[in-house]
Symmetry: C2
Subunit: 337 residues, 2 copies
Amino acid sequence: MTIRDIAQLSGVSVSTVSRVLNNHPDVSEAVRRRVLEVVQESHYVPNNSARDLVRPQSDNIGLVVRGIGNPFFSPVIHAIEAAVEQAGYTLVLHQIHSGEDEMMAGASLARSKKLRGLVLLGGCCDYRSETIAALDIPFVCCTYTNSFGTLAQDAYSSVSIDDQMEAYRAVRELTARGHRNIAVLLDSTCDHSISQLRYKGYCRALEEAGIPLDPRLVEETGTFDLSAAYEGARRLLNRCDDMTAIFAIADSMAIAAMKAVHDSGRRVPEDCSVIAIDGIEISSYTVPTLTTLIQPADQLGGEAVRILLDMVEGRAGNRHVLLHTTLRNGESVHAPK
Amino acid sequence: MTIRDIAQLSGVSVSTVSRVLNNHPDVSEAVRRRVLEVVQESHYVPNNSARDLVRPQSDNIGLVVRGIGNPFFSPVIHAIEAAVEQAGYTLVLHQIHSGEDEMMAGASLARSKKLRGLVLLGGCCDYRSETIAALDIPFVCCTYTNSFGTLAQDAYSSVSIDDQMEAYRAVRELTARGHRNIAVLLDSTCDHSISQLRYKGYCRALEEAGIPLDPRLVEETGTFDLSAAYEGARRLLNRCDDMTAIFAIADSMAIAAMKAVHDSGRRVPEDCSVIAIDGIEISSYTVPTLTTLIQPADQLGGEAVRILLDMVEGRAGNRHVLLHTTLRNGESVHAPK
DNA sequence: AACGTTACTGGAAACGTTTCCAGTAATTCT
DNA sequence: AGAATTACTGGAAACGTTTCCAGTAACGTT
């Protein structure tokens, strides 16, 4: 079933059918109705490949995400999709796995799907100029900042929270209450990641409170899943019985950590406070509820798309936007005994 | 940058470049290397649209999922993607929202992307023969059974747990321990859904235990999110102070329910037991851990793809597979006081 | 030496659209 | 009435691939 069949069936030319399908003005009402009718009853859907092939540019926006399963990403992806659709574009979603390079995946996707722009979600940000050059469409990084200075900042956009600063704020919630033996639970799925930035914030907060950095209190899990976080927290609990608080760099890790605290016979928050950054839905339904800095997920996704489309449609150049978290005062933080 | 440029740059014809790119045998080693080299350094990626357009059939398998955010789907999607990729196909993921008809979305996707087969995840299963006919490629439904008899069973495949039976098993865990005032927490995002099947299992278990069905103990939430489940559980708790157990039809709802129980001043499981079906990762990190029937998510996804590819490649016809859950004995179930 | 194979390569058609250009009929203007 | 405009329609090229077919050169065989 092609456009030619439709043309034949409705007794008009191929061009006319095309015009009807694309809402071009120059077609009579009678013909338009007739064609639409035929289209309807023959279940015809235009072949997207042919369409994309001939159009000078597609309406495709790519989203490359590392780990769709990450619960924090759910609302972000949702917001991105909504914004993209609302603007009349189509979202092409591509997941990448631990080994892959998201930049390469993005470049490949961009060429093969003729993308207008690209959103990168949850990647490692160790891009170099050559890599960026390989990708010659506008792109925006979501959920991490470039604070390492190795990137060509003016070649792309970003929108994220200030990971280092927010981590600093989180840890200050603890130091302000008098905690001094504060552990940090990191993940290390990639080198220059969010994890490192948040770790820096942790260090700064300690330093400012005059607390020396104690390597025993730093725990880095190899993979990003709950069992790894749980085991990490267990090691911390075994190693440091003077620890009074844990800063986890993600809500999901914090949930695992709270469980580990509980299983060790201690209580959250009386014996050990837990704080995190993210604000996923489920963390306000745990017992106790998690105290965390909520990332504005909707805004993150929405803003990312807005910035990207500004670039795509030539309204504005690239820019870097920082959003702020809001503290949710749950039940998992307390002054130390 | 097209295949013609590559041909020019490497001094061979377009056909030859194509052959190199598609690993056809009839090309000399020297030429192959030369072409590959040029491809490499010019970052050339074939245009997928053109490719799909000309090939008699694509390598695309579609996945239409209702609510990517559902945590239970994460491992299923992961398994599906892995299996599809492993078989040399490409997964095209499409999310649909509450209002949309997944069958129509699937049909549209199928035509426009030239899909070889389709996986439907988490939809409502109110298909009629006409609708199925509109989609003329093999498809497999994942995560729900057809127990309503309204479907043309031999027109498609399915793989899922026996929702009614497993719900029955879950509730029997409660009746066997002596519970008699057992509530059920349903969602109602679509009419003929998993929810209804699990509800039937609940009814059967009660009947078998000689417990009359009490409508006060049936709570149906409008939407599928944690806050709705939480509110539903709260209503139950307010309404029935003789209730000693809750059967939630999904882990995530159960987590919200446990929170509601806790917030009402009662304890899980001493005052109120909670059991569910799903087995998402996080539900074994709650306090207390959730007792639930674990669905074999990996197997579900893997089997779905296997069945689908059997149909696509003509190795076998359609079939309906039922998988079994395994009980995870958590801490959320106890005998009533 | 002529021939059939084999190994490789190039030309060209085809896939299903969109869009530019040209053409026709109807309508309005002078 | 004729010219100019308008409203609509059809033809054909183009998009970037793959693949069929034909062609050439080198090689072994009789």
